[in-house]
């Protein structure tokens, strides 16, 4: 088995601040993903990466940057946090094929004051 860890668990920032969320996996999976979870809106894909140093934009990439410098880690940066923003950011990983499930981390809860 393996595990996905996300840090920090809770992130509180100020409006306009640049904030970074980190994700690590030890499954040795090729592909990693960042999702934003808002109540009633499902899981929306922000960025994904097929292999290290690869980045692909998802449906919600505006306002975010991502970085995959190692196969095991994937970072997400909120470039300018918006006031009253509150969401959970979930990291996931999987093998590189459409038949494989994704494994999720426990999430980072973001609050912007």
């Amino acid at each position: 088995g393996g595990i996905i860890t996300q840090t920090p668990k809770f992130l509180i920032g100020q409006e306009g601040q640049k904030l970074t969320l980190k994700c690590q996996q030890n499954f040795n999976h090729d592909t990693m993903y960042w999702y934003r979870q808002d109540s009633g809106k499902g899981l929306r894909l922000i960025y994904y990466s097929i292999t290290e140093n690869d980045l692909q934009k998802g449906d919600l990439s505006e306002g975010y940057d991502a970085s995959r410098e190692k196969k095991s880690s994937f970072s997400l940066t909120v470039t300018s946090a918006q006031k009253n923003e509150m969401a959970v950011f979930l990291c996931a990983s999987s093998w590189w094929a459409y038949s494989y499930e994704q494994y999720f981390g426990p999430g980072t809860r973001l609050t912007v004051l």
């Binding site: 499902g42 894909l45 994704q102």
Partner: protein, 115 residues
């Protein structure tokens, strides 16, 4: 584009009654359908998956059958338990040739089971 529709945002049931959560999808490609379950303050985890038309898939008391003719993959359980209370997501993965493992999720259905 590809899409997944979960018609119910919230389903409230009495313990012991049957569960049915609806999922329909749209895509032009061959597919895998997934059900994920997320308990409060936990990560989503896989409950079921299928790509075989008209074959029932079961796990942990839940079952679903992919019907390609109606583009549906409804989740069912014969008798709800209090511990089934959670958020359930239906998700779609398509085979376009550029296999990335990318999933398209529905908006999710909250299942609340009460005594």
């Amino acid at each position: 584009g590809d899409s997944v529709t979960q018609t119910e945002g919230l389903v409230t049931l009495t313990e012991g009654l049957p569960v049915m959560l609806n999922c329909t999808y749209q895509t032009a490609y061959s597919t895998f359908l997934f059900w994920y379950v997320q308990h409060l303050n936990e990560a989503p985890k896989l409950l079921l998956k299928s790509s075989t038309d008209n074959k029932r898939t079961e796990h942990q008391g839940f079952h679903a059958t992919l019907h390609k003719s109606s583009s549906s993959f409804h989740l069912q359980k014969s008798s709800a338990q209090l511990s089934d209370s959670a958020l359930y997501y239906c998700a779609l993965s398509v085979n376009t040739g550029a296999n990335t493992g990318k999933l398209t999720f529905g908006h999710g259905t909250i299942l609340r089971v009460h005594p």
